[in-house]
């Protein structure tokens, strides 16, 4: 059995001291060990931004791609070898701005990929511009007068798009975060996990203390039922999206891979490349 130490490497993250992403890294490593994975059977695919570097900080197969495209790459990996556990990750700019088209379609496609977004509501690596998750009025280098666009409520969006695993967590709450990631890995289908991961350098509004004051844990809401989509939506609206925990899960809907005609349990990568002569002759005769 692998332990979380087996998922560590000796690469020193280039994140600022105090960055929320450290906890996300640790939570992925713990969840992977807890889920019984081995580093060889896991692939972490990440986008571009501070958080995108995470694939290089975990001892597993890692693919650090291009801005906004972690999800199509991750889905390609999973389709090629469904025996792998595939984790996609990146920031809120990566997933909800440049990569939004892929996010919403990955949600409705429901390929078994666990997508972890490190949401700091700002562009960090480009040194402080607004993000689709920035609140109205939020002042940044690109919105000096305060943002005049609405912040995207991603959890509500994921529910509307037919998400089968919709969850949110906070990087300070390592225990809950690890548990959520583990559940996401075990979910058969696409899981979206949005993690409040404060940027200590550029976001002076949505700080650790701010989240601690404003977050409601779903575990503290009596009778909350994560299989009830309407309850999930109402709860999100009531709390302006600031809840953590498993918001919604649909275990009934089959994953994309389960629905693909002729798709085998064994990874596609293990299927033979060669074609038999009688098959070829048949294909040729169809054009005669």
């Amino acid at each position: 059995m692998a332990t979380f130490k087996d998922f560590r490497n000796n690469v020193k993250p280039n994140w600022c001291p105090g960055c929320g992403d450290f906890s996300v890294q640790a939570a992925i490593q713990r969840a992977a060990a807890s889920a019984g994975l081995t580093p060889e059977k896991m692939a972490v695919v990440s986008g571009i931004g501070c958080s995108g570097r995470i694939s290089g900080y975990i001892n597993s197969y890692g693919f650090h791609g291009i801005h906004g495209r972690s999800l199509p790459i991750a889905q390609g990996v999973k389709m090629a070898n469904r025996e792998l556990t595939v984790i996609a990750s990146g920031g809120d700019g990566d997933g909800f701005a440049i990569g939004m088209g892929h996010t919403i379609h990955a949600i409705r496609r429901n390929i078994d990929v666990t997508y972890i977004v490190m949401d700091n509501q700002i562009y960090g690596l480009t040194k402080g511009q607004t993000s689709p998750r920035s609140d109205m009025g939020f002042k940044t280098k690109s919105t000096p007068g305060g943002s005049i666009e609405s912040a995207l409520n991603v959890m509500e969006m994921a529910l509307s798009a037919g998400g089968t695993f919709v969850a949110q967590s906070f990087s300070s709450d390592l225990k809950e975060l690890t548990s959520i990631i583990e559940q996401g890995i075990e979910h058969k289908g696409f899981s979206l996990i949005n993690v409040f991961s404060p940027c200590v350098t550029f976001n002076k509004v949505n700080t650790y203390d701010w989240f601690k004051e404003n977050i409601t844990k779903l575990s503290s809401i009596e009778g909350y039922d994560p299989t009830d989509r309407a309850m999930a939506m109402n709860t999100l609206m009531k709390h302006n999206g600031l809840v953590t925990g498993l918001i919604y899960q649909n275990k009934e809907k089959p994953s994309y891979e389960q629905l693909v005609e002729g798709f085998k349990d064994e990874g596609l990568v293990k299927q033979p490349l060669e074609m038999k002569k009688d098959k070829f002759d048949q294909l040729v005769s169809e054009f005669m």
Binding site: E40, M79, M275
Partner: protein, 580 residues
Amino acid sequence: MIKQLSWKVGGQQGEGIESTGEIFSMALNRLGYYLYGYRHFSSRIKGGHTNNKIRVSTTPMNAISDDLNILVAFDQETIDLNHHELVDGGIIIADSKFKPEKPEGTSASLYSIPFTEIANELGTSLMKNMVAVGASSTLLGVKPEDFTSVVEQIFSRKGNSVVQKNMEAIREGMAYFKKEAGNELVDFHLEPVETKGRMFMIGNDAIALGALAGGARFMPAYPITPASEIMEYLIKKLPEYGGTVIQTEDEIAACTMAIGANYAGVRSLTASAGPGLSLMMEAIGLSGITETPLVIVDTQRGGPSTGLPTKQEQSDIMAMIYGTHGEIPKIVMAPSTVEEAFYDTIEAFNLAEEYQCPVIIVSDLALSLGKQTVEPLDFEKIEIRRGKFDLSEELPELEKNVYFKRYENAEDGISKRVIPGMKNAIHHVTGVEHNEQGKPSESPDNRNIQMDKRLRKLSDLTDRFKTPVFKDERHEDADLLIVGFNSTRGTIQEVMPRLENDGIKVNHGHVRLLHPFPKNELKDMIDRAKRVVVIENNATGQLAQLIKMEVGSEKLKTLNKYDGNPFLPAEVYQSCKELL
């Protein structure tokens, strides 16, 4: 009796014009004739003039014809737009329903046949196409029973009575036309040929079949004209091989998903046209720097932007070669016939894995959609080579915190490839400059090592590539060398004997590898010609510019056409005469 003729059917889009041509040509293909079809269509589903021009010959040919012998018309617009192509003594066969009129100045004969009326009497006006097929093929000396197997193949799933009705429509069309025209039109009878099993397919069919035979098992793609047939074929066939097609949200997703699947060890491709290729540019660079195999098919059409989306053009050369920022190794190959499209697609997957780089297979609309007779493809020529990659290889254990050297600085620039899931092969992959283990590195020394490693990978490609230039060298020293690429090959081949007849010594070089450019092969041909003309369907002479840059010749003349239509042999002939 004649050796070849040209037949065209035209009408409004959505009226079954395509299937009329399809049935006509399938039957003739099965009789052993050589066919070449070209569809004129617009970017709309219903309405607008469309036509399908089909050339029938007793010998192989790969070009549309200059003129037309028989025009089948479902509306007056078809006659008005196309009668000028008709030869002296040509025939117009038109539906009596629209009261066809012969335009002034045409010498063609007009036969008004009640296509719709006969079809209605048989039960449905839908069968007017079959009546037209029957009426027009009588001219060629074709018998009703020559259509039986085709009609059965197409309509049998709708039941025997539908098959019988359609056969009846063909017979009635033939009978009516014979009664109308008498026996005065035997001039159009085709010389009989030996019946032989040949394929009848479009270039996109060959590319899709090549992908399947070449071991491709996954295709993410976004629909676009003229590439969609590739994904449509593969979604039908891949499940039997465990694979599938995903229709993605856009071409960026298609390209990056294919990169993800190739990274994980599955041969994957995507296919698009210019607009999609533009969207893939950043991802192509990712494939280059991460040394992930990737196969992209670009079926060129009229650009820029949406341009002429259903028309012929060859204007993506520079975008394919130089597109994507930064510098990467890349292979751009250009099949020039349907057969080559099949074999080249297989080879594209081999090269992508051997060189661990993106490979673009370039086609053009005429090659991708032109339906033609193809000699049976050879199973024995299918070969799969995966380069420095062996899924079953057992690797030595890695030291703690040391990654597998996926980007080892090998002498030939090509490192051993391993994939996720393999034991003792963990490494990092990133579009950031990286060291041998794939870990990010900005060190100038490392940068030089990795850039040089990647860029020397293709140094032996032009020597290894099979037939980088198709050569038809009839003369040691030529008056004229004609150079082209993709679908113009058949047209050029057709023009050569006409020029030779005028006493002009002509050689032909067709470029099949656009990048890295086979400069030595072409230079030799250019050196031995008094004049060189580069023929291409674009306005700026991109291939000619490439030759000037790579080979540096002062002799080059260009012949460009960018009105959306393929070159006619007569146009090329005329221009070559003027150039000399």
